[in-house]
Symmetry: C2
Subunit: 467 residues, 2 copies
Amino acid sequence: MSKLASAQDFSKQGVADAIAVLKQQFGDRLSESEAVRSHHSHTTTRIPQQLPDAVIFASSTQDISDIVSACHKYGCPVIAFGIGSSLEGHVNAPFGGICIDTSEMNNVLNVNTEDLDAVVQPGVTREALNEYLRDTGLFFPIDPGANASLGGMAATRASGTNAVRYGTMKDNVLALEAVMADGRIIRTGSRAKKTAAGYDLTRLLVGSEGTLGIITELTLKLYGVPEMIAGGICSFPSIEAACNAVITTIQYGIPVSRIELLDEVQVRACNRYSGLELPESPLLLLEFHGTEAGVAEQAELFTSIAGDFTDAEFVWTTDAAERKKLWKARHDAYFATMNLMPGGSGVSTDVCVPISRLAECVNETHQDIQDAGLLSTIVGHVGDGNFHCMPLAMPDDKDMNARISKFVERLSERAIRMGGTCTGEHGIGQGKQQYLLEEMGESVEFMKMIKTTFDPKGIMNPGKIFF
Amino acid sequence: MSKLASAQDFSKQGVADAIAVLKQQFGDRLSESEAVRSHHSHTTTRIPQQLPDAVIFASSTQDISDIVSACHKYGCPVIAFGIGSSLEGHVNAPFGGICIDTSEMNNVLNVNTEDLDAVVQPGVTREALNEYLRDTGLFFPIDPGANASLGGMAATRASGTNAVRYGTMKDNVLALEAVMADGRIIRTGSRAKKTAAGYDLTRLLVGSEGTLGIITELTLKLYGVPEMIAGGICSFPSIEAACNAVITTIQYGIPVSRIELLDEVQVRACNRYSGLELPESPLLLLEFHGTEAGVAEQAELFTSIAGDFTDAEFVWTTDAAERKKLWKARHDAYFATMNLMPGGSGVSTDVCVPISRLAECVNETHQDIQDAGLLSTIVGHVGDGNFHCMPLAMPDDKDMNARISKFVERLSERAIRMGGTCTGEHGIGQGKQQYLLEEMGESVEFMKMIKTTFDPKGIMNPGKIFF
């Protein structure tokens, strides 16, 4: 069993020494104020906050290399921070240490329109990149919901609604620059679209959650903005019927860009919150990208597929305003759910199963929610077999929060039992370490070997991914 | 600098001991005959053969675990073998040792038609898998040319003509089972389409060329057989014109399945070999997959794009026999090249650059071929910026072979200088170790750290990827 860093490996003196040295270099850009430290460990989740000892606002790769070198010298934990929208406690500082805020590293360094790629700093958010690209006819498709930083999205292997067509961050990062645990700066690849040159360090760093290195530059794939976008919705009598329509759609090779499932609890919540009048049964929302003829063909094919599984009509449009209206239930889903329990907070869960098991997994989960007396909606990126529940609790309702924790445990185990994963896109962080072990078994030992050889002092985001 | 295994680390006694022990277990399935050993180190290239001391025909994961455990115990090199179609000396045994032939592990274990995935043993070839899938309406798209084993294709991160649409092995392996250097068996993932659970060991093993573990099972993505396939060809007045047509096609987001470039030397060779009458200028060959309307739209869009760069007509068809005729030049390219020098042998090179630099890279390479007095064709998977030259020499022509080596050096350096890679799909093996260093710099140190922590005795395919 590889030994990883634990609290006793980090001395208060080491942390203090690192801060003292770095204060000389960074001056006002190093903050020890509680407000700043608290903001940088805000987990947006049920996981309690654990504050770093200091936050440094980095403005260059060399800054980050200097900070990590000092932390390496003095044995001080170091945690990278994008915008803090991760969901499994990734930015927490369980052993204290220094948080590196990358939000000022927000330059798009290069856009190569002919090669459909861009080189960006890690603090650029996905919306900022797309805003920057507006006049180029290109876009970056990965959309995890939050306006996350691209460095953070790579570090957590983010994806979201349109991964079914465009893949996840693993598929859309061509190369990285990163600062490793001793401060060395490496480049993991080139701008070539494919390579067979050595081990794939790019994809080793993507999803490593800041535990192996800090991403300081990303080379990303871009795509042409589709000539036409169509959106549509269709109700189904059951989760099975909806899932079977999804399976058939994927099997036919229809290149759907988004295919989202809302369960009937979510639809009811949306009706109430947004004043909609949708049938209160499972709903699929679709989006097609292509030429005018292409999206029409996709929509027609889906109409004919849906007809085998529901009597309801598939309503679709290429008009942007109409499309927005049709998709209103999806856009408002989060707030509609939160509105079910004013003052409460939601726990965003995340599992992914082979789509053949999706109906079974969602149905069992649905039953589990009822049996456990929880209030929760279900929303899924069903083309990938990925879905989220959002059980609600009042912050001081200890019993309910405990029941939710047990529910998350059962949900993770259910997904693993069905040949899936305990996390499709949120990552392990502090929240899912035990399920990683269940899911990956002996493989975790090999992950830990990489961790200990790259970061022998265990300073890089300690307490994440592994126990 | 991490220390890797070298000749003195492997004693003749250790190898002999491992063989003696394994002979007891495997009997006739262990061969020490020179013919068998020679067959298993046939490199299909200019790289001289280096024979293993024995070959074992494995029939199960447990067999491989037993072999590797014994090799680990006695310090004996171990080399995995699929069908031996790799091109950079991957199956050579520079320090002797045991070659594990996986060709008898050729079962398709499971096909999940609803999830579009299959679980296969490593000795299944890509053609055998597609033959097996014939009645399912599904297929596995990766096509490196040779009827390679899927284990070998994963180990070398293979791709080929239709990677422009379907990606490479990195994109199409969902999970692996592998035997690691001490004989432990791990699984790197599930059948879920995406995951954010821990480090991406799947993609670490894909492309690791047998130096970290031996792949014993693969979970692969499948795709629906397209309703319609169209093929077409178009001549261009120059490499630039052809490349600009490619760039525009990719930027428009036309989902071409194949887009291949033959330079005029290759076209001339094909005319001569196959009795064709193609204009002796650069040629693009395309393939479109989709619905009937979809491929027609793609072909029409390409027609209009090509019109901006050539006066020649884009000729295309959906008729299978006609399509084969149109593509004859591409199918015969290898033999047409070999026919330029009867009795000679060709060195298949492999680089990949951003497509914006492709014309420049191909043109410089073309000039280099002339200046160096070589006889070589150029064929490219140009949608990815990947191309191959095939310089020819008589086996005993030392001067020409030396000139070819120098040419490969310049070509690799040229690709790296243009922001590309020294290998798009053939891998590093024994042939490109020095260029890996040039291309990846300090990153190679981190690759070697993984190598030494996973395989401290250096028994896994020693002498490959790293010096």
